[in-house]
Symmetry: C2
Subunit: 204 residues, 2 copies
Amino acid sequence: MPQAPAAAADTKVLILHAARRRFADHGYEGTSLNDIADDVGIRRPSLLHHFPSKEAIYRAVLFELVGDWTALVTAAVQDPTTGWGQVERVLSAAFEFFEQHTDFVRLARREAIDGGPFFDEIATGLQPLFDRAVGFLEKEMRAGRLRRHNAPQLLLAGYGAILSYFSDAPLITVLLGTDPLSKESLRVHRREVVDLFRNALDPR
Amino acid sequence: MPQAPAAAADTKVLILHAARRRFADHGYEGTSLNDIADDVGIRRPSLLHHFPSKEAIYRAVLFELVGDWTALVTAAVQDPTTGWGQVERVLSAAFEFFEQHTDFVRLARREAIDGGPFFDEIATGLQPLFDRAVGFLEKEMRAGRLRRHNAPQLLLAGYGAILSYFSDAPLITVLLGTDPLSKESLRVHRREVVDLFRNALDPR
DNA sequence: GGGATACCCTACCGACCGGTAGGTAGGAGA
DNA sequence: TCTCCTACCTACCGGTCGGTAGGGTATCCC
């Protein structure tokens, strides 16, 4: 029983959505095209009508997410605030983004660990963001609006602390005994992390 | 050309060693028994003479590492020191362990993200360690030897900051432009993280 | 010497992988 | 109405996966 063809754009969106979930949950190797096709409700060869290969699907998912992340950071940095206020703004924006894009966090983590075939493009995509953040921190430290630290290392520590909470949610669920992604847990975690960095950075 | 059989114990050790590297580098799905067998220098069926299945090999690798980690934490906590001094001691011990067991870090990370079939046993193995650490922090906070914080969340933030530095080394290499696992980089990172937590915890 | 056992091998299995070939249904435009 | 295109299908490709069967050889124990 043949099926009425859907609009190509719609199917492509459905594929990307299903693929993002699968890749985030099980990684590149742990996801088969059949898995994705089943989620969409079509057969595998029909997937490959919309994308030339599994690799192309993965790449599309990755770039979409990096694009979202870049847009958010760019917007957050637009604001001319300085000192601790700006740091807190960016921290908050990052938190909100990660809350709403847990797939992105886990995918990024997998890429960071793997150093796989797509890794280079992702890394060079993220580097300007990192450099800009380091530049901002160092400028504010020199101006005395933030306490002096090794800016890149501090940034890495912060990125690690926040990202881990979202990427390792399955483990943290067991450790805490409650859902770490619940409104209340998120509120508490966010306050704790912001506090950690205020103690380190805010000259008061 | 048949080969002289080696002592079973030796081969088993070689298998576990090769498997740990492979699983850490490429994950469970991304590692085939042929990969491991090639590293050891035997054929795949010979692997399965020493272990009943791929899953059994993975499980053995995982439990060995969790055992090492448990032993280290237990030893570090043995010391009767209190307050910030004890926190700094444990932090230092963890750093050293992670430096020497980067395979463990990446494997643990993969497990934490996946929530896979082996995950439950690992998580319940780690939970007592987590609970004990939280207990220590809260005791010291009540006694006024550490500044008050939400202990579990602070611990998670710390664990995330440190672990990420090692697990995400491939990405960080690109971001920093230097080897994050070099003696000098490690020294700087360690000082920065210890500083971060001293600012938060040490009542001075 | 003769088993028994431990270790490793080649040869094979069924299942699944990503990807291709070829065909069909149905809408759009001449 | 004829033609072209899109979207999807079934059937198949070569190759790899984890795992098994069965044989050969070295070593240990009697």
